[in-house]
Amino acid sequence: MSTGEEGHMAMADRGSRKRRVGVKKGTKAARNKKQKSKPSTSDRFKVTMKNQKLFQKRARDYNSDDDEEEDDESKKQPEVTIREKIFSDANMGPNYEEIEEEDNDENSDGEDHGEIESGITKFATDGCNAFKIAFKAIMKKTKGDDTLGPVLSAHKHLIGEKLAEDEAEKKAKGQARKAKHLIAEKGHVKPGSYLDSHEKILIGVATKGVVKLFNAVNKAQHAQKGLNPSRSKDAKVLKKRRKEAFLSELGKTKTDTKVWHSLHISYSLSFIMIYLESLFLSRLMHVETS
C-alpha cells in the first residue's frame, strides 16, 4: 500500500515536472519548482487510507456516468467552470472528472476530507497552473521575436552559432557544386541560332553526297526496271549483269581467301541456281560456321 502511494507520489511529481516546459534539471526554475511541489507532498503524505479509497473510487468511476454527482455539481458550478478553463488545453478529461467527483464526494464526508481534497486538487491545479503560466509566458515572449522562434534565452546563442555554421557550410557546398557543374558542362555548347553559315556549308556538302547516291541508285535501278525477274529471258540478263559485277569485284580484291569466300556466299544466297558447284557451297558453309 505504502509503496503504491509512494509510487503514485513519484508519478505525480514526475507528472508535475513534465508539465513544466523547458525547465532543465540544474536551473533555478527547477529548484523553484521543487520547492513549490514540496509543500504539496507534505500535505499528501497525510493521506493514506483515504487516498487509497479515493484511488479505488477513481478506478471504479473511470468509466461510469456522473448521474450521482449532479446535485453536488450544481453547487460547485462556478469552481468547475474556472477549472474547466484551466484544463481545456491540457487534455485532462478523465483526471478532471475524477477530481470533480472526489471533490464532491469527499466534501460530503467532512472537513478532514476537504483538506485532503484540497491537497489533491491543489496538486492537480498546481501542475496545470504551472503549465499555464509557463505557456503564457512563452507565448507572450514570442510576440515580437525574430526568426528563431520561441526559444529560451539560454539557447539563443547556441542556436545562432549553429545557424551561422550551417550557412557557412551551405555556401562552401554550393560553391563546390557550382565548380563541379562547370566541369561537367565543359564543352557543351547550346546552339544559339539554328543555321549559321558554317552549318549551311555542311548541309550543302551532305546534300551533294545524298544527291550523288540517289542518282546512282536511280541509274542502277532504272536500268533493271524493265526486266522482270520471273521471265526467264530477263532472268538471264539479270544474272549476267550481276555475274559481271561480281567478277569485277573479285578482280579488284586480293586473292585473300577470307574475302573471297564471303563474297562468294553473298551471291550464292541470292542466286542458288546459278552455281552448280553445290559441293563448293557446302564447304564454304563449313568455313563460315567454324
Binding site: 564543352g187 557543351h188 547550346k190 556538302v205 546534300t207 553526297g209 541508285v217 580484291t253 564471303s262 553473298s266
Partner: protein, 348 residues
C-alpha cells in the same frame, strides 16, 4: 486463415517469347553486319550521359540501346560478350577534368582511334533551336548513310579513320536498296587547317519540286485550305505564290526518283532532297591511333609527346606480326570500301 491451394491456377503457363533475331550476315554483301556498343567505363556527368544516349540512337538499329554497364565491368568483359553477339565496334566515351574523348575501336584486336571532343551539342538542344523539329516514327529503323568529306587520301591516320567509319555502318547495295530506307545521314567533314572533324547527323526528306507550295502542303498535311476569299478553285490551284527562299537551293538538290516514295513523291518526277539536322553535333580532333584495342603501339599521335617507356615496353617481338595483320585488315577494308560505291562519297 488457411492457405488456399487452387490446383488449377497453380499451373504456370509459360509463353515462349518470340526472339528477335537480328541478322548477322547481310543478304546483300555477305559481310557481317557491323554492330556496335556505345559505353563508357566511368561515371559520366549529366550532359555527357545524354550524349552517350544520342550516340546510341544514332547507331541504331545495330547497337545495344539499353546497354547497362556496371562499375566493375572491364574492357575484357565487353570483349567477351562481343564475340558471341557479333559486335564489331566499340565507341567509348570518357570524361576527365580537362577533356572529353571518344574512342572508336574495332574488336577484337582492331585499331583504336581516339578523338578529343572540343565541343558538342545534344540532340535535345538542337531540337530546341529549330522551329519545326522533325522526327518521323521509323527514322531509326534503318542504319544511316555516311558521307566523308575533306579527308583526302594522303595521310595514313586519316585514311584509317575513313576506313573505320565506313565500316561502322552496314554497306548498302545500290542495285537493291530501297530509297525509303535511307532516312538518315551522318556527315564527317575534315578541315585541313584546324584539323577538326565536324560530326553531324541529319534526317533526309524528299519534297516534290515544281508543285506550288499550297498544293504541296495541302496534300501532305491533309488540312482543308481556306477558300473563303477565292471565287473559284482554279484560283487556289494556279495562284502564283511567292517562292520560298530555299527554292534556289533546291535546284541543285534535285533528284529523279526511281520509285514512288510515299504519296507525294512519285517515281520519275523530280524531287528535292532536304536535310534537317537531328542528333548530336560534335567537333572533334583525332588525337591518337593505337594498334590494339586501347593498347598496343601508337601509330599516330597528335601531340608527339609520347611516353616512350610504356610504349617501348609493349613493343614485343610479335609486334611485327600484329602490324602485318593490321595492314591486311585495313587493306581489305579499303577494298571493300571501294566496292561499295553506293554507300559513301569521298569528296575533296
Amino acid at each position: 486463415m488457411g492457405r488456399f491451394k487452387n490446383n488449377k491456377k497453380s499451373r504456370v503457363i509459360v509463353k515462349p517469347i518470340p526472339k528477335k533475331n537480328q541478322e548477322d550476315v547481310s543478304h546483300v554483301t555477305g559481310d557481317k553486319i557491323p554492330k556496335s556498343f556505345v559505353f563508357s567505363r566511368m561515371k559520366l556527368p549529366g550532359p555527357v550521359k545524354q550524349l552517350q544516349m544520342d550516340l546510341r540512337k544514332l547507331m541504331l538499329p545495330y547497337t545495344a540501346l539499353s546497354l547497362k554497364e556496371k562499375k566493375r565491368n572491364t574492357l575484357r568483359d565487353f570483349l567477351n560478350v562481343s564475340g558471341p553477339m557479333g559486335v564489331t565496334h566499340f565507341l567509348m566515351l570518357s570524361k576527365t577534368a580537362s577533356s572529353l574523348s571518344l574512342r572508336v575501336a574495332r574488336t577484337p584486336q582492331g585499331p583504336t582511334l581516339t578523338f578529343k571532343i572540343h565541343q558538342y551539342s545534344l540532340a535535345s538542344d538542337i531540337a530546341q533551336s529549330q522551329l519545326r523539329p522533325r522526327c518521323p516514327q521509323d527514322l531509326f529503323k534503318s542504319p544511316p548513310l555516311i558521307v566523308l568529306s575533306g579527308f583526302g587520301s594522303q595521310e595514313l591516320h586519316l585514311k584509317l579513320a575513313t576506313i573505320m567509319f565506313q565500316n561502322i555502318f552496314p554497306a548498302i547495295d545500290i542495285n537493291t536498296v530501297k530509297l525509303s530506307t535511307c532516312q538518315r545521314l551522318v556527315l564527317l567533314n575534315y578541315n585541313k587547317d584546324t584539323k577538326l572533324i565536324d560530326f553531324r547527323h541529319y534526317s533526309i526528306r524528299l519534297q516534290p519540286v515544281g508543285v506550288s507550295r499550297r498544293i504541296r502542303k495541302f496534300v501532305q498535311n491533309h488540312q482543308v485550305p481556306d477558300l473563303r476569299n477565292l471565287q473559284d478553285v482554279s484560283d487556289f490551284v494556279t495562284k502564283a505564290g511567292y517562292g520560298s527562299e530555299s527554292e534556289g537551293d533546291e535546284e541543285a538538290a534535285t533528284v529523279t526518283l526511281s520509285s514512288d516514295l510515299g504519296r507525294v513523291n512519285k517515281g520519275s518526277t523530280k524531287s528535292a532532297v532536304k536535310l534537317q539536322e537531328i542528333g548530336p553535333r560534335m567537333t572533334m580532333q583525332l588525337v591518337k591511333v593505337e594498334e590494339g584495342l586501347c593498347t598496343g603501339g601508337i601509330i599516330f599521335s597528335e601531340y608527339e609527346n609520347v611516353d616512350g617507356k610504356k610504349e617501348k615496353l609493349k613493343k614485343k617481338q610479335d609486334e611485327e606480326g600484329d602490324e602485318e595483320e593490321e595492314e591486311e585488315d585495313s587493306e581489305e577494308e579499303g577494298e571493300e570500301g571501294s566496292e561499295e560505291d553506293g554507300e559513301d562519297m569521298d569528296e575533296d
